[in-house]
Symmetry: C2
Subunit: 403 residues, 2 copies
């Protein structure tokens, strides 16, 4: 019988100590020794390095616990920055966070549309440079760029694969191209995975054991966290909620995405003859979806019925997922939830309350992300900050792509 | 920003060393020190204890690597035994394994049917005693009993919850009742989870990163292993494949189990008027399912169509699951696959080959369990052996039930 293989989630002492100061600072060297199990001598050396790197500062003396009051340490928020880029056809979102995890800048520009990858990568590099210049941040203090995109992706090789929504990007080595154009470390990950990490870093998931962030942009995905650690599966492409098999309106098998995503809502509006009355422009499905969602919020019955139908179908998918992962927490993030998020959240919460298989054991908490449209970009920035400064295995098995 | 919490999979030195000897023995003390990082002095002490407990024996001298040939150690297979009980309405399976993981005995008796829990627990205790007596195994060398049952269960409290198939057992403290009746440690776990562990212990999953054992008895479940470690979710009830939401024949929402499990196949045979011709007895759905499966294997077209339909529906569910967990390995276990397993395996493999979302990245290997009908019982025995002798966190988060 083979031995049970152990998955150890480790990290360098320096990274672990930095994380601890970030989470619990101001904190003394003694408290750090106690929390990590490192000797006080080792801790002194590690802290010395962090002070030398400018990542940490001494902030004065703390409470005495008998002897001399200890010197307290905290992170130096403006010593390092990370950029998150949420890559989408409908828009690009740039977020800059500092070492403390605070968002210090955010910009949104037009989506990739049908632009060629080469031109698009150059545009992203230049928009990052402009964003940093506008914030007065020197590139030497930027640890890297975390690009997040709809799956499937190959984070190791830095490729966007055959995303149904990004056909021109198939097998394009985005990470390498952008790293060359911007001359910074670049990391690529799934937008839904990043959004889940963004939610976790916001600190609101502390009570969750098994959490999924449902992510809806042009398509539908999800990111799963177990005890705050990304669940990645065999190739970092876990959580493909949009790929759940469902029966379509015509009785044939299709995917949840095909019947419930923003494009499906717009197509349904056309089928039912509501397109003209709802003033759907017809050139951008995602814009038309927002128009329908706005009309629903304003009380238009037919628009509300369209959103409600999509919400019910998504709720079925989330119920399936909750039963498979035994979730105790769900949040909703992504640009599609900025207007109609509450309707979707209500439908999902109701379905889980009524039908979650082990509801006698525990409930599944449903929330909207604090910042539904930016969670993925924030997660991308957080991911690169952590990878560069506190390297450790981020996933339950396969590490995220590193350059 | 909160610190990423780390999940450490640990164990006692004694347990780790025992596992290592079991997996790699015959092995020398020096090789054990090298493999574990423990000093040779510590290793001597640990090995001494294992020898004193009779768990390990010295088997002679190995190859010299320069100096004196080292004394080799191996487990003493007959020093300890564990019992696995697969609890079902259709049958009870008892398996006894020795310390080396070999199956030394196996019995099958009638299922629980509608018997009252109290009487049933007494029957199980007495059947365990008889099985052990028949094998000439003294109870003092039995480390415990691992009972596995269809979910949902509460392994911590040792309860079978509201399984649709075991209504009389709702909230019955099986573990405590049986532990008292048999006077041995008892552990309760999900049958599908145990089957996955049984598959893993058979050594055939060594190449799998993200594996699911699809388990079909009276109902449908699954057990997920990530790097050989059970994925448990928030309350040890992950993997409820049978609870996937699907559209029923009448257009309303139902569960995969309702349309695809053995009972559903039998109901469909009645609906289509094939019951008489196929000689379905009508008093035991599971028996009738086996009758249909046998007829299908013999070439009866209508029976084959019934099985094929169930297989296609299950294949959809497995595809959904593969896309959500990013699986690279699937196996089929459980009494429902003993006859028609190949048909189900073919349908699932075909569907994954054609439609798995990240098939450009990797394939999903599909196999039948070596011993489809006993995998869950073997897993139950393995689980209790490991919990008693090599205690460690078995799940990715929540530990399995201990007494």
């Amino acid at each position: 019988m083979p031995r049970q293989r152990a998955t150890l989630v480790g990290g360098t002492s320096k990274g672990v100590v930095l994380d601890l100061i970030r989470a619990q600072g101001p904190i003394s060297r003694v408290a750090l020794s106690e929390a990590t199990g490192l000797t006080q001598a080792t801790m002194s050396t590690v802290v010395r390095q962090l002070l030398d790197d400018g990542l940490v500062v001494e902030t004065g003396r703390g409470e005495s616990t008998g002897g001399k009051p200890p010197v307290m340490l905290d992170v130096n928020p403006s010593s390092r920055f990370a950029v998150g880029v949420q890559f989408g056809i409908e828009s690009l979102t740039y977020v800059v966070i500092n070492l403390a995890g605070d968002i210090v800048g955010r910009t949104r520009t037009g989506g990739s549309g049908r632009a060629a990858p080469r031109a698009m990568v150059d545009r992203i590099a230049s928009e990052i440079e402009q964003t940093l210049a506008g914030l007065g941040i020197d590139k030497s203090s930027v640890v890297g760029v975390g690009v997040v995109a709809p799956g499937p992706i190959d984070p190791q090789r830095g490729l966007i694969l055959h995303s149904p929504h990004l056909a021109a990007w198939r097998d394009v080595p985005v990470r390498e191209m952008l790293a060359e154009a911007i001359d910074l470390p670049v990391l690529l990950d799934n937008d839904a995975t990043a959004a889940a990490l963004g939610d976790f870093w916001s600190g609101r998931l502390d009570d969750a054991v098994a959490h999924a962030t449902i992510y809806m942009g042009t398509g539908i995905g999800s990111g799963v966290l177990i005890d705050g650690i990304v669940f990645r599966g065999a190739s970092s492409n876990a959580g493909e909620l949009g790929q759940i098999v469902v029966t379509g309106r015509d009785g044939t098998w299709t995917t949840l995405e095909e019947v419930a995503d923003p494009g499906a809502v717009v197509r349904r509006a056309h089928e039912l003859g509501h397109a003209d009355r709802l003033k759907l422009a017809g050139h951008d499905e995602f814009e038309d979806f927002r128009t329908i969602a706005m009309a629903a919020v304003r009380g238009d019955d037919e628009a509300a019925a369209l959103i409600e139908e999509s919400a019910e179908l998504l709720a079925n998918g989330v119920l399936t997922m909750a039963n498979l992962f035994d979730l105790d927490s769900v949040s909703l993030a992504g640009p599609a939830f900025t207007v109609a998020g509450p309707t979707y959240a209500r439908a999902i919460a109701h379905r889980l309350d009524t039908d979650f298989f082990v509801r006698s054991q525990h409930s599944v908490r449903v929330r909207l992300s604090t910042d539904a449209s930016d969670a993925a970009a924030v997660g991308g920035a957080a991911l690169v900050m952590q990878t560069e400064l506190s390297p450790r295995v981020m996933g339950l098995n396969t590490p995220s792509g590193v350059h």
